[in-house]
C-alpha cells in the first residue's frame, strides 16, 4: 500500500533513429495511497508505456518514479513490489491454480504454511476455492485473469497493482462479474490501483480518479464527475460520454452588453460566471453541451427567445433513451440531444432546442474557459 508518484516522465522509443517516437511527454501524476485510479486514452496515447515505467519493466528516458517518496527509478520490477495484470491472462500453465498463486511467495522464500494461509485468503476473496487444484489451461480466460490478479495481490507487501486493459479477453457477459471481484479485491486490501483502458465505461466504474492521456500528454486527472461536467478541453468533452459533448463552432457577440455565443443567426447565452473571462475579439471558439443537457420542445415556444429552431435528421433508440441528431435551422451545425424513450418524434420534424446557460461550456482555442 503506497503512494505512487511519477515526476516529469518522458519516454522516447528508438531515440536517435528515424523511427524516434515520443510515447510519454513530461507527465506528472500522483496516485494517492489506497486509491483506485484509471488511465484512459485512445490507443497509442502512451498509457501502456507509462504503466510499464511505473512497474519498472521500462526505464524512462527522463523523469523519476517515486513510491512513498522514495526514488525507485533505477530499481528493477522485482524490488518495487508492484504487481501487474496484463492484457491477456499470463498464467504458468505447468502449475495448477494453487501453484500459480503461490509462485511469487515461493520465489520470495516465504514458508509453506504462510503461503497456504495467504493462498486461502486470496482464493476466498476471488472465489477461486473450487478450482485451486485445477489446471489453468482448462479454465476460461475470465478465471485465468482472476488467477493472474490473485498472483498480483498475494504478496502482503504489494504496494500497488497495475492493470493493462485486463478485460480484453473477457467475454462481454462476464465482464461485470470479473470487474466486481477486481474492485472488491482493491477495496479489501486498500491497494493503490491503476487501471489502463480505452473503455471509458470501465474506467469510470472502476476508478475514483481518472487520468486521461492523449498523444503522450496527461490531459486531465480528475473524478469521473468532474471530467464529465468540467472537461478542461474539447478533446475530453468529446471523449467522455456516449455520445460525447456537442461541440459547436461559434463566434462571440455582445448582447445586452454581455458576451453570447453566435452560431449563424442564433444567439446562445453562456453562464454568467464566465462573462468576465470572455473577450469579444476571440475567434476559434466553441460551445459544448451534453446531449442530456439539451432541452427539447416539440411545440413552437413563440416568444421564448431561448429556444432555437432545428430539424431532426435522425432518431436512434438506445435502450432506455433516444438520441436525436438535429440540425440548427439556417446553419449546418449538428446537435445531438438525448430524450426519453417514449418521446414521440419523427425524422424530418421541426423542434426547438434550448441550451441552459449553466450547462454550456465555453472553449477558446479548444481550452475550457472557467470562472476565476
Amino acid at each position: 500500500m503506497a503512494e505512487i508518484e511519477v515526476r516529469d516522465i518522458r519516454h522516447v522509443y528508438d531515440a536517435g533513429t528515424a523511427d524516434e517516437t515520443v510515447a510519454v511527454d513530461h507527465v506528472d501524476l500522483t496516485l494517492q495511497d489506497g486509491s483506485a485510479n484509471a488511465l484512459l486514452g485512445p490507443s497509442g496515447c502512451g498509457k501502456t508505456t507509462l504503466l510499464q515505467i511505473i512497474s519498472g519493466l521500462l526505464q524512462p528516458t527522463e523523469g523519476q518514479v517515486l513510491i512513498d517518496g522514495e526514488d525507485v527509478t533505477d530499481q528493477p520490477p522485482s524490488e518495487r513490489d508492484i504487481a501487474q495484470v496484463f492484457q491477456f491472462p499470463v498464467i504458468y500453465d505447468s502449475m495448477d491454480v494453487y501453484g500459480n498463486l503461490a509462485f511469487p511467495l515461493r520465489n520470495g522464500g516465504t514458508p509453506e504454511n504462510e503461503i497456504e494461509e495467504r493462498v486461502q485468503k486470496i482464493a476466498d476473496l476471488l472465489e477461486l476455492n473450487d478450482i485451486l487444484h485445477s489446471s489453468p489451461s482448462n479454465l476460461g480466460p475470465e478465471l485465468n485473469q482472476l488467477v493472474a490478479l490473485g498472483r498480483g495481490i498475494i504478496r502482503a507487501d504489494t504496494s500497488a497493482i497495475l492493470f493493462d486493459e485486463p478485460m480484453t479477453d473477457v467475454e462481454p457477459a462476464r465482464k461485470l462479474t470479473i470487474r466486481r471481484r477486481v474492485k472488491e479485491a482493491q477495496q479489501e486490501f486498500e491497494i493503490t490501483a491503476l487501471y489502463v483502458t480505452h473503455d471509458q465505461h470501465e474506467a469510470l466504474t472502476f476508478a475514483e480518479q481518472v487520468a486521461i492521456m492523449r498523444d503522450g500528454h496527461l490531459v486531465q486527472y480528475d473524478s469521473g464527475e468532474t471530467l464529465y461536467q468540467n472537461p478542461v478541453n474539447t478533446f475530453i468533452g468529446h471523449f467522455i460520454g456516449s455520445p460525447g459533448m456537442n461541440l459547436l463552432d461559434c463566434g462571440v457577440t455582445a448582447n445586452d452588453e454581455t458576451p453570447h455565443a453566435q452560431i449563424g443567426p442564433h444567439t446562445i447565452a453562456v453562464s454568467e460566471d464566465i462573462h468576465d473571462e470572455i473577450d469579444l475579439s476571440w475567434t476559434d471558439c466553441q460551445i459544448g453541451i451534453r446531449p442530456s443537457s439539451v432541452t427539447v420542445q416539440v411545440a413552437d415556444p413563440k416568444e421564448d427567445t431561448n429556444y432555437i429552431p432545428a430539424t431532426v435528421d435522425q432518431v436512434e433508440m438506445v435502450g432506455g433513451y433516444q438520441i436525436l441528431t438535429t440540425r440548427l435551422d439556417d446553419t449546418d451545425v449538428e446537435v445531438k440531444a438525448r430524450v426519453a424513450h417514449d418521446f414521440m418524434i419523427e425524422e424530418g420534424a421541426s423542434i426547438w432546442l434550448s441550451f441552459p446557460p449553466d450547462t454550456v461550456q465555453f472553449f477558446h482555442e479548444k481550452q475550457a474557459v472557467h470562472a476565476q
Binding site: P76, Y92, S94, M95, Y98, G99, N107, A148
Partner: protein, 288 residues
C-alpha cells in the same frame, strides 16, 4: 450435397493412396508370401514375421537402433534448445545465425556421409591425424567405439540445427508478457526457464522430438557410406538390416515383414513419447 466435402478431399486422398496406401498394401501382401527369384510365390502366412522376430540379426539391429535414437535425442534436443536460447533475438546476428545453421540441413544425406568418410579416412583424413597427435589410434573400420561415436557425431552435426530452428521459432513466439510477469513475480532465471520458456515450448519440443526420433530411426545413408554397417555389424541399424534382407538377400517376403514390424515399432514409440510429453508437468502443484 453431402458428398461435396469428399469431392474437395479427393485430390489429397488420391495422392495419399498413391504415395502411401498402395505401397503399404503391396508390402502387406509381400510380407505374407515367400518370394524367391525364379520360383512361384506361395502363401506363408505369419511365417515371415516369426522368422524376423526370431532372427538374431534383427534383434541386434533393433537394440542398436533404440540405443542410437536414444543417444540422438538426449544430445540433440538439449543441445538444440540450448543453442536456440543463446541465439540473438533481434538485429543483424539473427540472419547470420540462421544461415549458418541452415547449411548442414541443405546437404544431402549421402553427401554428409561422404564428407565424414573423407574426414575419417586413415590415409588422408583429418580425424585420424588429429587423434594420432594425442597418441590415440582412431579407426572407423576396425574400432566399434570409434564407428559408433562418429556416426552419432555425424547425426548431431547434421540435425541439431533443425532442433535449433524449431526451438528458436518457438521461443520467438512466446509473448513478452510472460517474461514481464516472471520479472514482477521475482522468478529466478532458472524458474523463468522452468515455468515460462519450457512449458511454452511444449508443442514445438514434441514436434522436434518426434521428428528426430522418426528420422534417426530411419538412418541409412550416413552409416552406409561411412562404415557400411561395420565393423562387423556394429553400426548396422534397422534400415540397413532391412535393405540387406530384401535386396541383398533376395528375401522380399521377409524384407516386407521386417518393414512392417519396423513401421509398427516407430509408430508405437512415437505415440508413447507423444502422450508422455503431452501430459508432462501439466498443471501440477509446482516446486515446493
Amino acid at each position: 450435397m453431402k458428398q461435396r466435402p469428399w469431392l474437395f478431399l479427393l485430390p489429397a486422398l488420391l495422392l495419399v493412396s498413391i504415395s502411401a496406401f498402395i505401397p503399404l498394401m503391396t508390402v502387406m501382401n509381400y510380407s505374407q508370401l515367400t518370394l524367391l527369384p525364379g520360383t512361384e510365390p506361395y502363401f506363408a502366412g505369419l511365417e515371415n514375421f516369426i522368422a524376423v522376430l526370431e532372427d538374431e540379426g534383427f534383434r541386434g539391429a533393433l537394440q542398436r537402433q533404440i540405443v542410437f535414437s536414444f543417444l540422438v535425442l538426449i544430445t540433440e534436443i538439449p543441445l538444440g534448445l540450448g543453442l536456440a536460447l543463446c541465439m540473438p533475438k533481434e538485429g543483424p546476428g539473427v540472419g547470420l545465425s540462421l544461415v549458418l545453421l541452415g547449411i548442414p540441413l541443405l546437404i544431402p544425406w549421402n553427401v554428409v556421409g561422404i564428407i565424414w568418410r573423407v574426414f575419417t579416412r586413415s590415409d588422408i583424413g583429418v580425424l585420424p591425424a588429429a587423434f594420432d597427435w594425442f597418441g590415440y589410434s582412431y579407426s572407423v573400420s576396425s574400432n566399434t567405439f570409434d564407428a559408433w561415436w562418429t556416426v552419432l557425431a555425424m547425426d548431431i552435426w547434421h540435425w541439431t540445427p533443425l532442433v535449433v530452428l524449431i526451438c528458436y521459432a518457438g521461443i520467438q513466439a512466446i509473448p513478452d508478457e510472460y517474461y514481464m510477469a516472471a520479472k514482477i513475480d521475482r522468478a529466478s532465471p532458472w524458474k523463468t526457464f522452468r515455468y515460462v520458456t519450457l512449458p511454452n515450448l511444449r508443442g514445438v519440443l514434441i514436434i522436434a522430438v518426434l521428428l528426430r526420433l522418426m528420422d534417426s530411426f530411419k538412418i541409412y545413408a550416413e552409416p552406409f557410406v561411412l562404415t557400411g554397417g561395420g565393423p562387423g555389424s556394429s553400426t548396422t541399424f534397422l534400415s540397413t538390416y532391412t535393405s540387406r534382407m530384401a535386396i541383398g538377400g533376395f528375401q522380399m517376403g521377409r524384407g516386407a515383414a521386417t518393414s512392417l514390424i519396423y513401421f509398427f515399432i516407430v509408430i508405437l514409440i512415437s505415440f508413447v513419447i507423444y502422450i508422455i510429453m503431452l501430459n508432462l508437468g501439466q498443471g501440477a502443484g509446482g516446486d515446493q
